[in-house]
Amino acid sequence: MDERTHAEEHLRIIRSLMERATIYRAISAPTALVGSVLSLLTATLLFVANGRGSTSFFKLSHPGAARQFIVIWLVVLLLTLLANTLFIWRKARHESSAFMTAGLRLAIYSAAPVLIIAALLTSLFWRNDETTEALPILVTVWITCYGLALLATANFAPRSLRFLGWAFLLTGAACLVLTGPIFNTEPARHSAIAMGLTFGFFHLVYGLSTWPRQAKAA
């Protein structure tokens, strides 16, 4: 090996290590899969329960529909976060490293501003005790803010996570256009479809496509 090839090889090692060290995947494949399964089940349940003539426990009653909807999805979020905490804790234990790594801290700081705004907007829907007609707007807020939160980590996120962020953001934009002409004909069911498509299906695709790479890197 001549000196130039040797030097190039060393520069390649440096570059790959630097890239690896500065990239942080804020959503792991197992977390995405747990979130997607829970979201798909919940969305299906809400879609079926809100059909005409249904008397299901999950049928969103007119006054207080937004509160019911928020509570249901808050449970899904909490279960997913719980699973995520467990996965991070297991990884930290396996590697004998700290639970709160520099990458995790950076991801939380980056995504926090838009997530705080999402929480405040959600609280408005809660306080106003909105009916089913408001659900498409609430869902649009969630999808758009989640996409923005993912893109806030774009500087140190892998490409797959940036794609996921853009998929959410563009779907959020599409929901903004569709709210009114299409969404409002059956707001509860259409909101369930939007949640199932994004938090369910998008996460499923992301989880399945990144699983082999993450398993190899572990």
Partner: protein
């Protein structure tokens, strides 16, 4: 004529180059995170860190948070040595293209 003799011997070793590279990406690295990222054994990593510390390139910080933790960071001298090392590598690559 540029050659590998100009490269700092303390850095110009695959494992130590890896350590210096990672230390250059952040303010400080806990021992366990370095170990996980580089896939090295405790003994091997400690040996290379000691060589870099003795060369004055790496600073050691010991603190007790929820448990004792040792962190490593580049000193100003270490950062300059790493930058010089990169410059020499670049010059070798450029000279080889001419």
């Amino acid at each position: 004529m540029l050659d590998f003799d100009k490269l700092d011997k303390a850095i110009h070793e695959k494992a130590r180059l890896g350590i210096m590279t990672l230390l250059a990406t952040r303010a400080a690295w806990p021992f366990q995170e370095l170990k996980a990222e580089l896939g090295m054994t405790d003994g091997n990593l400690i040996t290379h860190l000691r060589i870099l510390h003795e060369a004055g390139f790496v600073a050691v910080t010991k603190e007790v948070l929820d448990r004792p933790q040792t962190s490593y960071s580049l000193t100003a001298r270490g950062r300059k040595a790493f930058q010089d090392y990169l410059d020499v590598l670049e010059q070798i690559v450029k000279a080889g293209r001419k």
